[in-house]
C-alpha cells in the first residue's frame, strides 16, 4: 500500500485523506490505488484528462459510490453514504442538479432542509452573493441557462459555510467573465480558511486557482505537489522586468529561445532551446533593463503533457 502523497506543509489533521482508493467498473479500473491528502486551508486541483478518474474519486469521497478498495476520510471520519460529516462539506459533482419547477432560492432551501437543518443556518444570501446569480434566483430553474444553473450549483455548494468544498469542473460551461468571478470567489473562500478540492481539465484555470495539484492519469496518481514544484523545470524561464516592451524586443534577438509568452503585468515567460537563463539576464542588463525576478518555469500544461505523455486533454 502506497503512503498518501502529502502535499505542501501539512499542519494538523488532514481534511481529506485518501488511502489506496480503488474503483472498478467491470473490467475497467477507474481509480487505481489512489492516495493523497489535502491539508486545512489548501486549494488542491485534481487534474487529469477525461477518464482519468477525477469524478469517480470525488464521488467516492462523497459516498455516492462505494470504493472497491482503500479508504477515504474527511475531517477524520471515514466516508459512507449519508455520513454525518457530509454536513460540513459542500459539493458540486457531475454538474448541477435541481428541481426544475421551483425557483433557485426554493431549490437551495429544499436542499438544505433535506439534511435536517434549519434554513437560517444555510446563510443562503451569503452563498448567493458569492455565486453572483442576482435576481435570477427568484425564477424557476427550468428557465435558467447552463451558466446560471452552474452558478446556482456553486451557491448550493457554499450553503452553510462548509469547511470543505468538493467541486467537479466548477467553471464548466461558464463564460470568461463568469470564470473570473468564480475564481475570485474561490480565492476569497480559501483566504477565509475553506479547504477546496476541485477537479478540472482546464490546466490554466487550475494554475491560477490552486496552490497544490494532484495529477491523475488512467486512474493512477502521477504526481502530487505544489503548482510551483510541478511547473518547475529547466526548459523555460519566468522574468519580471521594468520595461516589458523593450525586453520583449530584445529577447527576440537572443539565440536559443524557442518561444515567448507575455505574463502581465510585467512578466515574460521564455521557452528555452539552448540558451541559459543567465544569458537572458545578461542580455537584458546589458541593454539597461532592470530584471526584478528570474526563475525556472514551465506552465502546468507543459508539465502535465510531460507527465502523462499525452498530446492533449
Amino acid at each position: 500500500m502506497l503512503p498518501p502523497a502529502y502535499i505542501g506543509d501539512m499542519r494538523g489533521q488532514p481534511v481529506v485523506e485518501v488511502v489506496s482508493l480503488t474503483k472498478r467498473f467491470g473490467s475497467v479500473v477507474a481509480v487505481d490505488d489512489l492516495s493523497f491528502t489535502v491539508g486545512p486551508g489548501q486549494v488542491v486541483g485534481l487534474l487529469g484528462p477525461n477518464g482519468a478518474g477525477k469524478t469517480t474519486a470525488l464521488r467516492m469521497l462523497l459516498g455516492l459510490i462505494r470504493a472497491d478498495g482503500g479508504s477515504a476520510t474527511i475531517l477524520g471520519e471515514r466516508i459512507r453514504p449519508g455520513s454525518p460529516v457530509l454536513k460540513r462539506v459542500g459539493a458540486l459533482v457531475e454538474g448541477p442538479g435541481f428541481v426544475p419547477h421551483v425557483s433557485g432560492r426554493r431549490n437551495l432551501e429544499l436542499y438544505w432542509r433535506a439534511g435536517g437543518a434549519d434554513v437560517t443556518s444555510a446563510h443562503i444570501d451569503d452563498a448567493l452573493a458569492l455565486s453572483g446569480l442576482g435576481d435570477a434566483v427568484e425564477r424557476k430553474v427550468k428557465t435558467y441557462s447552463h451558466g446560471m444553473r452552474q452558478r446556482l450549483g456553486f451557491a448550493q455548494a457554499l450553503l452553510g459555510r462548509p469547511e470543505l468544498l468538493l467541486l467537479d469542473e466548477p467553471v464548466n460551461g461558464l463564460d470568461p467573465q463568469q470564470i473570473v468571478e468564480v475564481r475570485e470567489a474561490l480565492l476569497r473562500l480559501a483566504s477565509a480558511g475553506t479547504t477546496i478540492l476541485l477537479s478540472s481539465h482546464l490546466l490554466a484555470e487550475v494554475e491560477q486557482t490552486c496552490g497544490f495539484v494532484v495529477v491523475l492519469d488512467r486512474g493512477r496518481l502521477v504526481r502530487a505537489g505544489t503548482v510551483a514544484e510541478i511547473t518547475a523545470g529547466s526548459d523555460s524561464a519566468y522574468l519580471e522586468v521594468d520595461d516589458t516592451q523593450r525586453a520583449w524586443e530584445l529577447l527576440g534577438t537572443v539565440p536559443g529561445i524557442r518561444a515567448k509568452e507575455a505574463a502581465p503585468p510585467n512578466g515574460i515567460i521564455v521557452h528555452l532551446e539552448g540558451a541559459a537563463r543567465s544569458d537572458l539576464v545578461a542580455a537584458l542588463v546589458a541593454a539597461g533593463i532592470r530584471v526584478e525576478t528570474v526563475m525556472a518555469r514551465r506552465n502546468l500544461e507543459d508539465a502535465f503533457l510531460e507527465m502523462t505523455g499525452r498530446s492533449g486533454l
Partner: protein, 210 residues
C-alpha cells in the same frame, strides 16, 4: 425530509393535473350514472343493475370506485410512487440529496410515504366527489342491496335489504382503502424500477403493467 418531499410534490403540475383528472372523471361518472338512471335503456351488468335499484348519492360513489379501480387508481399510484425518484435522478437533484447527511433508507422512506399519502388522497377524491355530486342529484338515501338471502326454493328470488347511509359510507371508505392498498402493493414494483432508472415512463409503466 418528509416536509421537503411534500413541498416538492405539491408544487408539481403533475400532482395537480392528476387530481384534476380524478375530479373530472368522478363528475363525469356521476353525470353518466344520473343520465342512465333516468333513461329507459337498461344498462347491462351486475353493477348497472344494482345501481338502478338505488337512487342514492352513495350508489354513485360506489359506481365511481368500481369504474376507476381497474385503471385510473392504479395509474395514480404508479405515477405518485414510481415517478418521483426517477424524475429526481433525471434532473440530477437526487445526487445532491444523496450527499446530504441523511441515510438512504430515510430518504427512500420519505419518498414512499409522501407518494402513498398523495396517491391515497387523490384516490379518495374519486368516490368522494362522485358521492357528493350523486347526492346532489339523487339525495342521501339508504342503499338497497341484492346480496340478501334466497327466499324461494323454486325461483331464486333475492330479498332486498336496505343499508343506512352511515353504514354504506363506512363500507365505501373501507372499499376505497382496499382498492388503494391493492394498487399500492403493485406499485412496489414501480418503486423498485424507479431506483434503478432515470426513465420515468419505465418506472410508471412497471407499476401499472402487473
Amino acid at each position: 425530509m418528509i416536509a421537503v418531499e411534500f413541498s416538492k410534490q405539491l408544487r408539481r403540475w403533475r400532482s395537480r393535473i392528476l387530481l384534476l383528472v380524478c375530479l373530472a372523471v368522478s363528475i363525469l361518472i356521476a353525470i353518466g350514472v344520473g343520465a342512465t338512471a333516468n333513461s329507459t335503456v337498461q344498462p347491462l351488468g351486475e353493477s348497472g343493475l344494482a345501481l338502478l335499484l338505488n337512487r342514492s348519492g352513495l350508489a354513485v360513489g360506489i359506481a365511481a370506485l368500481l369504474f376507476t379501480s381497474g385503471l385510473l387508481i392504479p395509474i395514480v399510484f404508479a405515477v405518485s410512487l414510481g415517478e418521483p425518484l426517477a424524475s429526481e435522478a433525471k434532473w440530477g437533484s437526487l445526487r445532491y440529496l444523496l450527499v446530504r447527511p441523511v441515510s438512504r433508507s430515510r430518504l427512500l422512506f420519505a419518498k414512499i410515504l409522501v407518494g402513498l399519502v398523495l396517491a391515497i388522497a387523490t384516490a379518495i377524491v374519486i368516490p368522494l366527489v362522485a358521492t357528493l355530486v350523486g347526492t346532489a342529484y339523487f339525495g342521501w338515501h339508504p342503499i338497497a342491496t341484492i346480496s340478501g338471502s334466497v327466499s324461494s326454493s323454486s325461483f331464486p328470488l333475492f330479498e332486498l335489504k336496505h343499508l343506512a347511509p352511515g353504514a354504506v359510507s363506512w363500507r365505501l371508505v373501507l372499499a376505497t382503502l382496499y382498492v388503494a392498498l391493492g394498487s399500492g402493493a403493485l406499485v412496489g414494483i414501480a418503486i423498485l424500477v424507479s431506483v434503478a432508472t432515470e426513465n420515468v415512463l419505465a418506472a410508471v409503466a412497471a407499476g401499472i403493467l402487473p
